[in-house]
């Protein structure tokens, strides 16, 4: 039995935040909720958690409406991080554990396990305010899972983490899944989704644009991608354009991406290259990236806002 989000809608005054959003999350899987800023990810999560009530629609987990589920069903990592800054790590975590009905000894054991796993065992008695942002985020993750929830819901869990901490968090995700937990996280960074998620849902302006297992979503794009490189200049981009069925996608430093429609055999590219006497150094069949899937469905990259922002900042605007 799965988590079923069935046609939820929510308005804030004149703003329609969600308009009939539906998706299904299979248990014991990692599920990605994708969308640009303001698409409705956080609102959807809050409704699943029953912090917000939807204007319409319903949410069930294993057949039970979320309004009737005990609160310790869920673990939540909000996008806006916040902990009691003046308390020690152990006190904060034990406080949240107590709210979920976890006794002190169990909580302490769990905290020690996770602190060691996140390689910060000596921060136990430190005050939260003395920790770096990345480490506070790890503490917050522990706060979200300390009561061993069935479903873990995380809003942009990777934002602001350095590569080392990102890796640690990914490993923690996989461990939680192996423990039989269901994980849902939102992001607008596609790399993590590619790596972790078995199924996704893309939301744009309060509506679901595509939803399902990653493999199906990619196949539904109706094309294949060939990553191709030759010894020649520009990896043969010039003559590749003459192939009728093939369109040139992204041009990277060491290869080009070629889009091939579903009904066409990608081998024609290889054949054409060999006929021309090119030395092929890379020929890799693949599916379109989630980035491409996202752009195709939403019409712009998921992190477009950030790109604009970064450009504006560089331009000094």
């Amino acid at each position: 039995m799965s988590l079923v989000v069935d046609g939820i809608s929510k308005r804030f005054g004149p703003v329609v935040a969600l308009d009939g959003v539906s998706f299904t999350v299979e248990p014991r899987r990692i599920f990605g909720l994708l969308g640009a800023n303001g698409a409705g990810k956080t609102t959807s999560m809050r409704i699943v958690l029953d912090i917000l009530r939807p204007d319409g629609g319903r949410v069930t987990w294993q057949g039970t409406p979320n309004t009737e589920l005990p609160r310790d069903t869920w673990g939540y990592l909000p996008e806006e991080r916040g902990l009691y800054q003046r308390m020690t790590v152990i006190d904060v975590l034990r406080f949240f554990a107590a709210l979920y009905g976890v006794d002190g000894a169990t909580a302490t054991r769990e905290v020690d396990y996770w602190l060691a796993r996140f390689r910060i065992p000596d921060y136990r008695e430190r005050k939260v305010e003395e920790l770096s942002k990345g480490n506070q985020q790890k503490i917050q993750f522990i706060a979200a899972i300390i009561h061993d929830p069935e479903v873990l819901i995380m809003d942009e869990p990777f934002s602001g983490l350095d590569p080392v901490n990102t890796q640690l968090l990914k490993e923690a995700f996989l461990e939680m899944r192996d423990r039989g937990k269901t994980l849902i996280f939102s992001t607008h960074q596609m790399e993590q989704v590619e790596e972790l998620c078995e199924a996704i849902c893309i939301i744009d302006r309060g509506r679901v644009v595509v939803h399902g297992p990653v493999r199906d979503v990619k196949r539904a794009m109706g094309r294949q991608v060939v990553r191709f490189a030759t010894d020649g200049d520009g990896h043969g981009a010039a003559w590749l354009g003459t192939l009728k069925e093939v369109t040139i996608g992204a041009q990277r430093a060491d290869y080009v991406e070629l889009n091939v429609p579903a009904g066409t055999d990608p081998q024609i590219i290889l054949r054409a290259a060999l006929e021309r006497g090119e030395r092929v150094t890379r020929f890799e069949l693949g599916e379109p990236s989630l980035e491409e899937v996202f752009i195709e469905h939403v019409g712009r990259p998921a992190d477009e806002d950030e790109r604009h922002l970064a450009r504006d900042q560089v331009a000094g605007r």
Partner: protein
């Protein structure tokens, strides 16, 4: 109440420990307790300072042509009359005496003259007309003048002495246990006033604590974690109880210190001043029990509403603005009590003293001042208070559950109303 505890207890415990565990809290509480004790001791201190001060008055009576020695006569009258220490000395050199007054070595120079045969007095000194020593000197001077007139009228000094013999004047209080009724009313007035001021201070100070701590959790974004872990009602109850009792801890410490000061007043006065005129024997400390029983739910009522409104603020800077209505209600009770305290028997005061927001101020004040507040009035006020408290918890929880996730906008009354009506 279902499911309210133990989470409300966990929240309350954390709030209480965070609130009272800081060095600032401990220091502030100690300082306030010392101030409370000091204020309670103030009458003794004032008497101590005044009592030490001997007023020295020089008398120049060379032009008065008196039969008796004016210094002896004045000493006689002054010592017999007021207990305050006034020293009378003869001014042998009036010019030197004037200089001494200017140098503060003497408090005053009393010059006696004859004007159309009658005695006239002139006092050279800084004392105001209401100064206790000056009043005593004036009374003595009047007696001296009357004695002089009697003598000139041919009354025999023996008879004159009889004329000035103290009159029998006894005050019989209505309540034989009470001390001087006037003094008692004065004392009770002070006590009633003190209770009103303390109630107001506690409500506003600690109510703001509650509101600030709610806003703090919103601005630090801990709220989102909390709201997933506990229900709004559990959080609200925990906040109110934790911060409320944190406040009451400080309040209680100050109150106990002040009370100890009051109780010790008599003993200290006796030791230091050698008289027991100051002991507040008329105070009935039993009033504190019904006062407490009404004050605590009243206090919680205010705190609950403060918490609800505090949840409308996104930042701590907004707390004062969103809790404005509470300050307004608190002030209304405060001023009503201040006006009502002067007419504690008026019917509007009586009715107002049953109404929840006003009863913590007015009912104890009325009880202390009039002494004829019936038990049923206390019960009525208590029941009304509890009913309103229940309603307030419901309303505040609605505001709270809507408010805690509302960022950016500051709460207006319309938003509060919408929060109460709409289901999250």
């Amino acid at each position: 109440m279902r499911n309210l505890f133990p989470n409300a207890w966990h929240v309350a415990r954390r709030e209480y420990l965070q609130r009272t565990g800081t060095r600032t809290f401990v220091i502030v509480t100690i300082i306030l307790a010392l101030v409370g004790f000091g204020l309670a001791m103030l009458p003794v201190v004032i008497r101590l300072i005044e009592g030490d001060d001997v007023t020295r008055v020089a008398v120049d009576a060379r032009e008065a042509e008196l039969d008796q020695d004016p210094v002896t006569a004045l000493r006689l009258v002054l010592d017999a009359g007021e207990g305050s220490a006034i020293e009378v000395v003869a001014a042998d050199d009036p010019e030197e005496a004037r200089r001494q007054v200017r140098r503060d070595e003497l408090d005053g120079l009393l010059t006696l003259r004859r004007e159309n045969g009658d005695l006239a007095f002139e006092y050279f000194g800084d004392a105001g007309l209401t100064d206790r020593s000056l009043i005593a000197v004036r009374t003595a001077a009047t007696q001296l003048a009357i004695a002089d007139r009697l003598q000139r009228a041919g009354v025999d000094p023996q008879q004159a002495g009889e004329i000035f013999a103290p009159t029998a004047f006894q005050v019989e209080p209505v309540d034989p246990d009470a001390t001087d009724p006037d003094e008692l009313y004065g004392q009770n007035y002070v006590i009633a006033m003190a209770m009103v001021i303390l109630t107001f201070t506690a409500i506003v100070t600690y109510g703001t604590w509650v509101a600030t701590s709610v806003a703090e959790e919103k601005s630090s974004r801990v709220m989102e974690l909390l709201i997933t872990a506990a229900t709004p009602r559990q959080l609200l109850a925990g906040k109110v109880l934790g911060n409320g009792f944190g406040g009451l801890t400080q309040f209680g410490a100050v109150l106990v210190a002040a009370l100890l000061g009051f109780l010790a007043q008599g003993t200290v006065a006796e030791r230091v001043l050698g008289d027991d005129a100051l002991s507040l024997t008329g105070i009935d400390l039993w009033i504190l029990i019904p006062f407490g029983l009404l004050f605590i739910p009243g206090f919680l009522l205010y705190c609950t509403l403060y918490a609800g409104l505090g949840s409308m603020a996104s930042r701590q800077e907004d707390v004062n603005q969103v809790t404005g209505p509470m300050l307004f209600i608190g002030m209304a009770g405060y001023f009503a009590a201040f006006i009502g305290i002067n007419t504690p028997d008026a019917s509007w005061v009586q009715v107002l003293s049953w109404i929840p927001f006003f009863s913590p101020y007015l009912l104890p004040a009325r009880t202390v001042l009039t002494g004829n507040v019936a038990l049923w009035e206390w019960v009525l006020a208590g029941v009304l208070m509890l009913i309103l408290l229940a309603v307030a918890i419901w309303v505040a929880a609605r505001i709270y559950s809507a408010g805690v996730l509302l960022y950016g906008q500051r709460g207006s009354l319309r938003q509060v109303w919408r929060a109460v009506r709409v289901d999250r």
